[in-house]
């Protein structure tokens, strides 16, 4: 620790970058665009993983692992997918280094160890997986295949930011194979719903479910469903996507099955993923000028206890109480850190745990010993109160749910206040500039108009919401007829 963070309203982007580093979540590495996820950041990611993994398994999915590399000839088999990712591929061309003949302390690529076929480091795994599924599917009895993979992927992005856009990131990618179009569409929707449920109930991030336009959908997909969240600076963030891939990959890799009626058919596919980008969404949805604010369900430590003492003897007395409380809280299923380090002062610890977003802080000093109290501070509201030691467990247990709900409500209110209906392009531009957020507007359905609006305003169509009413209207740019509003925003 650590200088004060830049304030959000002064420079949101700088605030974010400082927060990620100072709260010990992640940092840049020696490899361009690749991050180091530090233990505190990784502990949050592990909680996300564990919850998502259990949701996937509860819906019948199993984990597996496929190769990191995709031979170029497989990579290029599904044309649109290949085209979409070719521009940002890390490519392995050699399999050996050797001592530099001019400087024995250096290594050079051994030109004699050139691969016959280049290997692409997976930017996504449809190609390698569908090439594998070919061997797994003969009959309708072999379907569905419901597989998920936790893995690292590489996309050679030119402009990177910690968690939000990194050359290497961690994610899960589901890849399913189905006998019918309907079943694949159901799966696509199911997984988008699971992402929404996870975002809202676990991360306390309200999201809008919808589908992407032609120009925004995944390379190789027929349809991309998504969940879109809104950050505190009024920019949207795509928090998860679920793709209906039609028979594109089955055709590219010749994956067919014999149906119950004995007909040979191509298999239907979906894929779906969320990534460490969610860490960025989490940070930007809830945090404040003092640092990270974590929903209790994701906090590695839900409670921290800090003793305030002078001298060994006082510390011992306080520790008796603190450790008893910690045990009781743990028995109630709450994770607790007791920080009795003598290398740091209580004030330093207070600031540190605020910066790191620990939901509840308990402080115990000599006066608390006399009175049988503790000082309880909530990270989300920055409020404090004294609580009887005998009531701490019940109080904190209730607070876990209350803080989780409060964070969600706050984010939901903010999001709802930042969805603005506009009916003219003047208003569109005015609202976008003054307030940001989602702009709900009519659009004539053409990629040309979508592109034009993007050129003029930098706003893109985040999604065509699923739950929107049909409403006759006119495109905000061209005036052509439209039957439904879509959501525009500037986005991460």
């Amino acid at each position: 620790m650590s200088k004060k963070l830049t304030e959000r309203n002064k420079d949101y982007s700088k605030w974010y970058n400082e927060l990620v580093v100072q709260a010990d979540l992640a940092e840049n590495s020696a490899v361009r665009g690749c991050m180091v996820i530090k233990p505190y950041g990784y502990a949050i990611w592990e909680k996300m993983q564990a919850k998502l993994d259990s949701m996937f398994k509860a819906t019948g999915h199993q984990n597996a692992y496929f190769p990191l590399f995709v031979p170029k000839s497989l990579f290029e088999a599904e044309e649109k997918n290949a085209e979409g990712f070719a521009k940002e591929c890390a490519v392995v061309t050699h399999y050996r280094l050797k001592t530099d003949p001019e400087d024995a302390s250096k290594l050079i690529v051994d030109p004699e160890a050139k691969l016959e076929e280049e290997l692409v480091v997976r930017p996504t795994s449809e190609a390698i997986i569908w090439n594998t599924y070919k061997g797994w599917v003969q009959s309708y009895r072999d379907l569905p295949i419901l597989i998920n993979q936790w893995a690292n992927v590489v996309r050679w992005e030119m402009r990177t930011r910690l968690f939000l856009r990194t050359a290497e990131f961690l994610w899960q990618e589901g890849h399913t194979a189905h006998a019918t179009k309907e079943e694949a569409l159901d799966e696509t929707e199911l997984m988008n719903n699971i992402y929404a449920e996870f975002a809202e109930e676990f991360m306390a991030i309200p999201v809008i479910k919808g589908k992407k336009t032609e120009s925004e959908k995944f390379a190789g997909a027929e349809e991309t469903y998504c969940i879109e969240a809104l950050m505190q600076d009024g920019k949207a963030l795509q928090a998860g996507t679920s793709h209906f891939l039609g028979q594109n990959f089955a055709k590219a890799f010749d994956v067919k099955y014999t149906s119950q009626e004995g007909k040979l058919e191509h298999v239907w596919a979906t894929s779906w993923g969320v990534s460490t980008r969610l860490m960025g969404a989490l940070i930007m949805t809830h945090s404040d000028d003092k640092g990270l604010v974590l929903p209790p369900k994701l906090a590695p430590n839900q409670v921290v206890i800090v003793p305030i003492y002078k001298g060994e003897e006082q510390l011992e007395e306080i520790s008796l109480v603190a450790k008893k409380l910690a045990d009781e809280l743990r028995a109630a299923g709450i994770s607790v850190k007791y920080d009795d380090r003598d290398t740091h002062k209580p004030g330093w610890k207070f600031a540190q745990y605020e910066l790191q977003g620990v939901p509840v802080r308990l402080a115990i000093g000599p006066k608390d010993l006399e009175k049988g109290t503790v000082e309880l501070a909530r990270r989300d509201t920055l409020t404090k109160e004294f609580v009887n030691q005998s009531e701490v467990v019940e109080k904190v247990s209730n607070l876990m749910g209350e803080i989780q709900d409060t964070l969600f409500e706050k984010a939901l209110n903010f999001r709802n206040e930042h969805i603005t209906k506009v009916d003219s392009f003047e208003d569109f531009k005015k609202v976008l500039k003054a307030k940001g957020g989602f702009i709900s507007a009519h659009w004539d359905g053409t990629p040309e108009t979508e592109n034009k609006i993007k050129e003029l305003t930098k706003a893109t169509i985040r999604c065509i919401p699923f739950n929107a009413e049909t409403e006759e209207g006119n495109c905000v740019l061209t005036g052509k007829p439209s039957a439904q509003r879509v959501l525009f925003a500037k986005a991460y």
Copy 2:
């Protein structure tokens, strides 16, 4: 399913390869030397991960994530480590593909997208991690750093085998930093002990703890501790290693700390890892000619229930009993699969679950309904008995521990019967040929003799065991004096 497996005593290697594929554990992929870990195999790996992860955390370690790539200049910084891995590195040289001007359906590496500095796909992460630790360590207060990473790594092996030796594999790698040599040595030993405990108590694989000779130790280590297991064909398998790295990486990356006395010192290091290779050890230790045999602690399904029925009505009656039993078993903490698929016959299912090593099979037919019994079959002993339905839960609960113990005892007896003391090189060769296993022999301590024995017999020194008595003797090859026997074996 699936033709009969080749018998172990006919062709052990073929038996292994067939078993891995037929039991749905893993298969080869389109990428040379890289495997696909299938859901059933991955489920076993996940159980290993979960247990190891909890053991690491219980000893104060935290997870983090470091980049997949290592810039060449960092890779070469620690000379011995670089030399050890340079010959088997996948190297990324370009970051973009483009359309082949001669064939628009193909992609080629874009020569304009050549990296300024090549990136090595990590074969191990000491270099990238120690380059990071440099920024984390200033004072003794920043130590120790106790970090583990779950990751994929790539070593371009020329001869690969599923799980045992693959170009890409999954592993965990611990990387710790300490203020003193003593503390680092303690950590090295602690983690080797954790691996031994995990192997014996969880995988039911007896192991010998020891240290590697100079020529067998990790490239860049001062000392490598290891656990060595013995497979059924008499070959040894290194199941885990823990390295004391001295100050080698701290010096290569200039990582220093200010001690409590105000002196600037280099940091001391360890690293330690186990990999998906453990899957190979698991398979080869316990399995038989009918397929996989799994210790209950690692079995994705500890119990399978198969109904034997004619017609819907009978199935319904049996299912009532089966589902009740399944619920009761689950309530007792036992994982159960109830396989009532009508697409496969009971005989097929029996063979399939034998092949996949499910520890306990329960079969329920019409006669069992009358008598209130089930047929219980143990996978490890291939024995069957009838059990009253009311006694199933207690019986199976007890069996879980009993099977776990039986497998360990069996493997331990086999291992102990295959440690042979020899005192002449003639006997050495004779025993190695006739019986294999570990050969306990005196060695003069020189790499020359070690190499000579390797050349002549293909046996290497697996370890210098920690628990061995000192014993005056003469080197089995040179007759020079020796103070301790070491363990030789042919090895995977």
